[in-house]
């Protein structure tokens, strides 16, 4: 068709960053945590990651195929879900459990609600909660007996904190990851490196992680410990840092408005504090984020910014 040109309404330029590029950045940001997990827990970690990612991608692929929908696995979002779910698994988990979780995350939480961007809960976290409720024993077994990890037998630092013993692991152990826990949450250092990468590449902004962790720290200082060492211990253990940077910031399930992000993050901080201080279980990040996800539509509804020139926020 000589002489015919493309016509479209302006703008005619597009930024280089598409959905796939963003997901790739998230995957890159989780590489340090994945590397540490393999270093600490051995190839078993890698196996869990491969299984969850494999089942997540396969579920999405088959769903699209069977539902005659355009294929979306190439946007890498299923890979991200798979990795996040894997990093939330204890090292000795029988592999069929993460596999089941991955299928649940993709089919039930993501696709049944309309696919990417439409799910109202973080798929990986919802799957984790599903597994926690269904297989409480296996999901809370951090003994590492079978893979022979003597140094890390027994309870997680948070479980010990719950029973009053906060001094078996030092803050440095917590920071570097010389502790039992899920394969991805143990090393605060690795997670912070990844978080910094996400901030640097502007995949996420500082509001949710900083406000979440900040409010949590202040909350437990006031209502629980009155002691900075114990607050630091709480911040560095469990899934808080992983959750704050990688799960609470999930696009689909966090507010898009600036004010909303502050409110949501503060809400998560308070909930996590409540669960950890007064709840029955030692950890509360997953449930806090899932509950936070549910109020996002409400938060958004009341935090629509005022338009420019209509008495809204002053630009600077």
């Amino acid at each position: 068709m000589e002489g015919l040109r493309n016509i479209s309404s302006s703008p005619h330029f597009r930024s280089k960053t598409d959905t796939k590029a963003i997901m790739l950045d998230v995957i890159l940001a989780m590489l340090p945590a994945m590397a540490i997990s393999v270093y600490r827990f051995g190839l078993r970690s890698l196996l869990i990651i491969v299984v969850t990612v494999g089942f997540a991608v396969l579920s999405e692929y088959l769903w699209n195929l069977l539902m005659k929908k355009p294929q979306t696995v190439q946007d890498l979002s299923a890979v991200v879900t798979g990795i996040i779910l894997a990093l939330n698994m204890p090292p000795e988990i029988p592999l069929w459990i993460p596999a089941l979780g991955a299928v649940f995350a993709i089919i039930v939480v993501k696709q049944l609600y309309g696919g990417i961007g439409q799910n109202f809960m973080n798929p990986a976290l919802a799957a984790r909660c599903f597994l926690l409720i269904s297989f409480a024993g296996l999901m809370n077994d951090f003994s590492c007996a079978k893979i022979g990890f003597d140094a890390m037998t027994g309870a997680t630092p948070l479980a010990m904190a719950k029973s009053g013993d906060m001094f078996r692991y030092g803050l440095l152990d917590l920071f570097l990851g010389n502790i039992p826990g899920t394969i991805g949450e143990v090393s605060a250092l690795a997670l912070l490196v990844g978080g910094a990468y996400l901030l640097f590449t502007k995949v996420i902004n500082w509001r949710i992680p900083v406000v979440y962790i900040g409010v949590f720290a202040v909350f437990i200082y006031i209502f629980g410990y009155h002691d900075l060492y114990q607050v630091a211990y709480q911040v560095l253990s469990g899934g808080l840092i992983f959750g704050a940077f990688f799960m609470a910031t999930d696009y689909a399930t966090s507010p898009i408005t600036v004010k909303g992000q502050f409110i949501y993050a503060a809400f998560l901080g308070i909930l996590t504090g409540l669960f950890r201080l007064f709840g029955g279980a030692p950890e509360g990040v997953s449930y806090a984020i899932i509950l936070g996800n549910l109020v996002v539509p409400l938060i958004e509804k009341y935090t629509i910014p005022k338009a420019f020139g209509k008495g809204g926020r002053k630009a600077k």
Partner: protein, 467 residues
């Protein structure tokens, strides 16, 4: 020094390097010139010539068709061939006056008459600007004489020259500021003559250091004209964004810049005002940029209005050999119009012809929204584009209005940044037109009801009197 700017916005690929080194040169053609009766915002002009008439360069061939409307002048001397519908940049047929140039460029009476603007009153200046057919030639095409006639002239505090040229690829304003800063300053002083209490501000994005230097040099001894450096960011040159950046004042769609004490003119418009008022030369020519990765020799050329783009492109060297451009754009990449044919004329608001090897739009198909919030971050009007897009998808005019969709300036930042390549701005344009139409219908209906009520009342009173 801190740079003036606004909140939000994006940094698209600038691409200025392609044409910024090319000095403005003049192009002349023989043959037919086409003058659409509607060139910019406002009512179309009414033709005052007929087929067969002989016209001169600078002669008014169509008169303003209302208050917000501008004269159309012939840019050549020759014979009126026809007044007929022809395709214009928006892809629609629009009535045009076709003039066949005789190549003599005989000028109409009074053209070229020098004036001393300091001896003219405000009304006289505005009248000259009106007769010269000047509109905002930076892209919007709003009649300049209307802009210069605010309700409360004494409340105008700033005359702002918009030299931001924030659209990627365009370099015509840059060359103008570099080569003819005295005309820009002259136009500014003419405007300050109308508003003696106002202060002149020339605002330029800091990606044009040479232009800033040239303009600063010429303004060195002008106590009432200040040069302000703007942060390079799109859409820094948007009227509302620019006013905020240089004065800190905020306006919305319901407020005119003049109500906030500001009058914003593009630098090229100011140069045109200077030419019209001081040199007696009405708006017959303009500088446009020919650029893009498919163009053989990107450049800036001064062309007569009414010349058609295919001839201009041919005259400057055309497209690179062996290449078929995927897309032609009239104007900038962010707000310009895609052309499917080049046989359309240069009009007053035309700023560029761009030709691209790849069409980034068709090569980036739309996927699902991932709610990343980037559109919210970049929107210079603080809107939530993704929610507006939902309202647009549902054709929900009420929701669209409630979410302040009518405040959208159609800058394109949200569509540019969207990783899912959703047609955000594009859908808002459609919705804004629909809402505006609905408002017009509602207003007409209300008027009708009022008239009916008045009539009924009058009848009732008549009956009373009869009794």
């Amino acid at each position: 020094m801190s740079l003036a700017t606004f909140k939000g916005g994006t940094h698209p690929y600038e691409g200025k390097e392609l044409a910024e080194g090319s000095a403005i040169r003049k192009l002349d053609f023989e043959g037919n010139f086409f003058f659409p009766l509607s060139q910019g915002i406002g009512a179309p002009a009414k033709p005052v010539v007929a087929a067969g008439d002989h016209v001169k360069a600078g002669q008014i061939i169509a008169e303003a068709g209302g208050f917000v409307s501008a004269n159309v002048l012939s840019s050549v001397s020759g014979t009126v061939k026809a007044i007929e519908p022809r395709m214009t940049a928006n892809g629609l047929d629009s009535p045009c006056i076709v003039v066949e140039s005789d190549g003599l460029y005989e000028t109409a009476e009074g053209v070229g008459e020098k004036r001393d603007y300091t001896k003219l009153s405000g009304e006289e200046i505005i009248d000259i600007v009106k007769k010269a057919g000047i509109v905002g030639i930076g892209g919007a095409g709003f009649p300049t004489h209307v802009k210069l006639s605010p309700r409360f002239p004494e409340k105008v505090d700033y005359i702002i020259a918009n030299g931001s040229e924030c659209e990627p690829m365009l370099t015509s304003d840059y060359r103008l500021m570099l080569e003819e800063p005295e005309k820009l300053l002259g136009g500014m002083k003419v405007c300050l003559q109308i508003f003696p209490q106002a202060k002149g501000i020339i605002a330029i994005e800091n990606n044009k250091p040479e232009a800033i230097k040239a303009v600063k040099e010429i303004c060195a001894h002008e106590p009432n004209v200040e040069v302000v450096e703007l942060k390079t960011k799109y859409p820094e040159g948007g009227e509302r964004q620019l006013i905020y950046a240089v004065t800190g004042r905020t306006i919305n769609s319901g407020v005119l810049p003049a109500d906030a004490g500001c009058i914003v003119n593009n630098v090229a418009t100011l140069a045109a005002i200077y030419d019209a008022v001081v040199n007696g030369i009405p708006l017959m020519e303009k500088v446009i940029t020919i650029s893009g990765d498919a163009v053989k020799e990107p450049c800036n050329v001064r062309v007569r209005l009414g010349a058609s783009y295919d001839r201009i492109l041919e005259a400057v060297g055309g497209i690179k050999e062996g290449i078929t451009p995927a897309k032609y754009i009239c104007g900038g990449p962010m707000m310009g119009q895609a052309l499917f044919s080049l046989s359309i004329p240069v009009t007053k608001p035309s700023s560029a012809l761009l030709a691209f090897l790849y069409d980034e739009v068709s090569e980036n198909p739309t996927t699902a929204c991932i709610r990343c919030g980037r559109c919210v971050e970049v929107c210079p009007e603080f809107l939530v584009p993704t929610l507006l897009a939902k309202a647009a998808e549902n054709r929900d005019l009420e929701k669209f209005e409630k979410l302040e969709g009518m405040e959208c300036v159609e800058c394109g930042s949200c569509s540019y940044i969207c990783p899912a390549r959703r047609p955000l701005t594009q859908s808002f344009k459609v919705m804004r037109k629909k809402v505006a139409e609905q408002r017009r219908i509602r207003a007409a209906e209300a008027k009708q009801r009022e008239a009916q009520a008045a009539e009924a009342k009058a009848q009732a009173e008549n009956k009373k009197e009869e009794k």
